[in-house]
Amino acid sequence: MTRWGKWVLPPLVGLLMLLGWEWGVSAYQVPAFVLPPPSAVLVALWRDGPLLFSSAWLTITITLQAFLLAVVTGVGLALLFSQSRMAAAAFYPYAVILQVTPIVAIAPLVVIWVGYERVNLALLILAWIVAFFPILSNATLGLSAVDPNLRDLFRLYQANRWQVLWRLQLPSSLPYLLAGMKISGGLALIGSVVAEFVAGSGTASGLAWRIIESGNRLNMPRLFAALFLLSALGILIFALLSLVQKRLLGRWHESELGR
């Protein structure tokens, strides 16, 4: 496919769908509280802008914090696992338990423990729990996915543990780590939204709360506007991480060779 097609086709499809939507809503006289026309969503986005953007800012902050925390703790733990088999054997199962337990199920508990007065901290913890595992598992996989011949080469030249880690294991693990970060970036956003849904009742005021609130008031244009902002945020995170991936792997890794 040509570059042109790649960049022009998706927006074109989107535009056609929006036009169809707009036309369908007015042609069949769908009530706005069921499905508002895109134009009404645009108006809501403009009119409720300050409110929505301050909510979006909260969601962004929590998502980013959770993501960064997940990267630091995930990579840190993976490094520990790669240096000590015993640590890996001891702690990895608990990381898995943390991963397989549905976040919705532990959210109320975390909110109660942290306290309603510090609900943002609870959101951060919950988003972190969701975002953390892909980083840990991918980084662990990456740190062990070293070409055995290169490992032998390092041994032959009597490289010490740090040299092996810094010059061999970390670069080898980079493609895996970046793939994990891409998954985890999206999950951090999902985690912060889900957490807010569970915490509920107006204590947090991120985009998720705006959605609940608008739904309760049947303010569908605002609900759609908040939804739109959430998607945009998700796309932005994905795009940024793809850019980082291209930057770091562009010249050497198969995944970025673009054939």
């Binding site: 070409d147 080469l153 390092f154 032959l156 030249y157 490289a159 010059r167 050497w252």
Partner: protein
């Protein structure tokens, strides 16, 4: 062998058994003289690569001993793997500099030595390239340069040219011989090609599998330096036939 000149390498009664009881090597005795070019020839699975790894110290024998008159310094043994084994994320210059970097050689000095080595193998114009941008033969040259950059006294080569096309392989054979003459290192070359072993070596050791052991040795006293005329001469053919017979007999015993 006079006491003043002990052999560079002496393997006696080497045995290697894996944890599951499989005997990989049994009763390997081998003496390698300084400056020799020795080929280990045998079918796949006969343990010739294993012998190389034991010599490099990457594996340890279950029994028997290895005496090395090689200095204990880093880089006194060079190793060339079957694959180029370059770090894909590093430029050629950084790949070749790796042994020096690991030994803590100052960067400026190391870089100068690397550039000299790259020139030897004809890669001076590709120092800034990434491995994936080079052909298979060029990658192998880079791998060779990396192994030689520390000026090892012993160079171990594990079927380094097996994956290359015939034309490139012949060319690299000649380049390897020329480097061997210039540097005077001792080479142990693992191969399963009779022709390659005869052309390159001053001595060929033939191995048989299950368990791996050395069954015959042959001195190849073809004159140096060797070139295209070597390959067409009658002595070369005679040697090839002898080695071929030895190999055939070894396989017959194994069956």
């Amino acid at each position: 062998m006079t006491p003043e000149h002990p052999p560079l390498l002496n393997l006696s009664g080497l045995r290697l058994a894996y944890a599951n009881g499989t005997l990989a090597l049994d009763g390997i005795d081998l003496t390698v003289k300084r400056g020799e070019f020795l080929s280990l020839l045998g079918p796949s699975g006969c343990g010739k690569s294993t012998v190389l790894r034991l010599i490099a110290g990457l594996l340890f024998p279950s029994d028997g001993r290895i005496d090395r008159a090689v200095s204990q310094d880093r880089g006194s043994i060079g190793f060339v793997f079957q694959e180029p084994t370059l770090m894909p994320w590093a430029r050629i210059i950084d790949n070749v500099r790796l042994p020096l970097d690991l030994a803590g050689v100052p960067k400026a000095e190391a870089t100068a030595r690397v550039m000299m080595e790259l020139e030897k193998v004809g890669l001076q114009d590709f120092s800034k390239s990434y491995p994936r941008e080079l052909s298979g033969g060029m990658k192998m040259r880079a791998s060779l340069a990396r192994a030689l950059v520390t000026r090892p006294s012993l160079l171990l080569l594990d079927e380094p040219f097996a994956a290359l096309d015939e034309i490139t392989r012949l060319k690299l054979n000649d380049e390897l011989l020329s480097l061997w003459r210039q540097y005077g290192f001792t080479a142990i070359f693992v191969t399963h090609s009779v022709f390659e072993s005869v052309y390159l070596s001053t001595r060929v050791a033939v191995m048989r599998p299950r368990p791996g052991r050395i069954v015959a040795e042959l001195v190849v006293d073809l004159p140096q330096p060797r070139d295209l005329s070597t390959r067409t001469g009658p002595e070369y053919n005679a040697h090839c036939r002898t080695v071929s017979d030895l190999l055939h007999r070894a396989m017959g015993n194994a069956a």
